[in-house]
């Protein structure tokens, strides 16, 4: 697997562009991670630290599902993986100190002791969980804290910015953090930025019964991880302008876009828009240089793939006869909808619910038009349903907290090419 490298695909709506006019071209850049060896032994080792909220609000069904999900997690581990479990309310307890997942039955029996109790000392619990992982920090393994909570940090350090900064600092020291927020009462403005800053994933469990599915996605993602520290450099050639990157990736200090980790079987869809000046018919032009930097899971140093985008220009008539690649249209629309969700969120925050609803409604109409030729595709269907139900639910003031989370997490998942 060390020899296999990610592939890059450039896709445009039509394979040629119309000559003789200035235009904006959407380019779908698809990063296809290398496939992992089917043998399980080839997967990266895991050093996991689960940090589980057992504050009062986690009682009943939620706690039951959390226990099931944790048990599921234990079942999936290899004997060479490490696991620890910290549970917290206002008190913090290391229920399972970091150990190899050798005695799975014993580990699962420990879970039975978890009962929901008081308030939420989220920060210190995260620190304790981080320490369990850090004590056994393993090169080449995925060293990760998994923070699971349904509530707001209300004991100890509660300043969101500080916690996010600390999570980022810990990531720089080799330990990443994923966050799982359950229900509608946790603070998405903490858990989402925290996971993003800390090199992990942010998940929202809307209903308790989804917990196991989310755990599965997180765990399978870790197992399938083939590269981290992924960056993208885009240099348009002279005369061409990079007018937009629809994923709204954060920039690194060196001006590269920060991409999510690469996982086998999960291509990343990135859409950029280029402003291209008029070209003559039957000409070919170099439009963009792309550099994908990444660190393979078991390597220490960065590798780079370079690729150039060149396109041919032809008369309007011949271009219009070319088939349309609907994948590109769809990718553009879905990322536009991710932006629409964030816009709707901003309107909600400003108290303008009508406008929020309008933005979501407009996104749905635009999607119905743009994606009509592939309306039966499952991801298009899912998008229709999600936007329609959001639009409806935005009428209901009692759903505000849940809606804001849906908007935030759905937008994030799309921009990061995460499929739940």
């Amino acid at each position: 697997m060390s020899q296999s490298i990610p592939k890059l695909e450039f896709l445009t709506e039509r394979t040629r562009l119309v000559a003789g006019r200035d235009q904006t071209v959407s380019v779908l850049i698809r990063v296809i991670p290398p496939e992992v060896d089917a043998r399980q032994a080839a997967r990266p080792k895991l050093n996991l630290g689960m940090v589980l909220d057992r504050s009062g609000s986690m009682g009943g069904e939620k706690m039951e599902h959390a226990r099931d999900a944790a048990a599921y997690c234990i079942d999936q581990l290899l004997q060479t993986d490490r696991l620890s479990l910290v549970i917290f309310d206002d008190q913090i307890e290391v229920l399972i100190p970091s150990q190899y997942a050798e005695n799975k039955q014993g580990l699962k029996e420990q879970l039975a002791h978890i009962r929901a109790r008081n308030s939420t000392a989220l920060h210190e619990a995260w620190v304790r969980g981080g320490m369990q992982v850090s004590e056994h920090l393993t090169d080449g393994a995925i060293n990760r804290v998994l923070l699971i909570t349904d509530g707001q940090a209300n004991v100890g350090l509660t300043n969101t910015d500080e916690i996010v900064t600390q999570a980022m600092e810990l990531f720089k020291r080799g330990v990443s953090t994923s966050t799982i927020g359950i229900g509608s009462d946790f603070n998405e403005d903490l858990l989402l930025p925290m996971a993003q800053a800390a090199g992990g994933n942010a998940w929202h469990v809307r209903a308790a019964e989804d917990m196991q599915r989310i755990f599965t996605v997180e765990l399978e993602g870790l197992i399938a991880q083939v590269a981290h520290s992924v960056t993208l450099g885009l240099v348009p050639s002279d005369g061409v302008r990079l007018s937009d990157v629809l994923n709204d990736f954060e920039l690194s200090e060196t001006g590269r876009y920060k991409l999510p980790d690469l996982q086998a079987g999960s291509p990343l869809d990135i859409v950029v828009q280029l402003r291209v000046p008029a070209q003559t018919t039957n000409s070919k032009r170099h439009l963009l240089d792309l550099r994908l930097g990444y660190t393979p899971q078991e390597a220490k140093s960065a590798e780079v793939i370079k690729q150039a985008l060149e396109l041919e220009f032809d008369s309007e008539e011949s271009v219009s006869r070319l088939p349309v690649n609907h994948e590109v249209t769809k990718a553009v629309r879905l990322l536009m909808n991710a932006r629409a969700r964030r816009e709707a969120m901003a309107h909600m925050d400003a108290g303008n619910y009508v406008l929020a609803q309008h933005v979501v409604g407009a996104a749905l109409s635009a999607t119905r038009v743009a994606c009509a030729p592939m309306a039966s595709a499952p991801d298009v269907q899912a998008e229709y349903e999600s936007l329609a139900s959001l639009g409806e639910s935005l009428e209901d003031r009692s759903q505000d907290k849940m809606n804001r989370k849906r908007l935030a997490y759905e937008s994030y998942a799309r921009r990061q090419s995460k499929k739940v």
Partner: protein, 228 residues
């Protein structure tokens, strides 16, 4: 790699060719994954001349006949440039990072790729400081105390106390965008960017101390005048 460099510390390289050979040897040993394509795998003589003309390498300080004599610092500069290139940084950016750096800084820049072992305890150490500061900062006015224990300040302290044999965590890992406010004494705060590295060299440090005092003095004089 440390031992590799130790050997080179006293060495002199007569002419560009010797410097190129030595760099190739060290690069081979560390196995810097250089990308395929425009960036040459190991620096040849022409590349070195180009770096010299671009100011990425300092000019030779002595000559032997017509040949320039290069030393340890030049070797480090060359290795750092190649390393940063392999991390796909543009020449302009590399120049900013390498410009005016002393040997210690360059060694540290090189050390970034072997952070694996130093990072190990670093994560734990970091979390431990979070716990201790948390315990000591129950009152809201102690916010400044907490920020003292924050990353920027911490790595600065680590860098000050680190002995030359023990490279401190790589400086460029600190985020350039985050600033820390640190209370020095009542009425005086220091505003420090996350990636700031204090100078290692004693003379530079004295200069920095003088600058800080001078700034404080002139500022407080100006404030007093304004008050009158």
């Amino acid at each position: 790699m440390k031992s590799l460099l130790d050997k080179a510390r006293q060495a002199k390289y007569v002419g560009v060719a010797e410097l190129a050979d030595e760099a190739a040897k060290v690069l081979f040993e560390i196995g810097t994954a250089q990308e395929r394509g425009t960036v040459s795998e190991v620096p040849d003589e022409r590349t070195i001349r180009y770096y010299l003309s671009e100011g990425l390498l300092s000019p030779a300080e002595e000559k032997q006949g017509t040949a320039s004599v290069f030393g340890y610092r030049h070797l480090l500069q060359l290795l750092v440039v190649k390393k940063l290139q392999s991390e796909h940084l543009p020449i302009r950016k590399i120049k900013e990072l390498v410009d005016g750096r002393v040997e210690r800084d360059l060694e540290r820049l090189l050390g970034a790729s072997e952070s694996g072992s130093t990072a190990r305890n670093d994560a734990l150490r970091y979390l431990e400081t979070l716990l201790t500061t948390q315990a000591s900062t129950a009152a809201p006015q102690s916010r400044t105390l907490r920020s003292q224990a924050q990353p920027g300040a911490m790595s600065a302290r680590a860098a000050l106390s680190a002995s030359p044999a023990q490279p401190s965590p790589p400086p460029q890992q600190q985020s350039a965008g985050t600033w820390q406010r640190i209370e020095i004494e009542p009425g005086l705060e220091l505003h420090m960017r996350g990636d700031y590295q204090p100078p290692d060299d004693a003379r530079q440090r004295r200069r920095l101390a003088r600058n800080v005092l001078r700034t404080i003095e002139s500022q407080s004089q100006r404030l007093q005048k304004a008050r009158r």
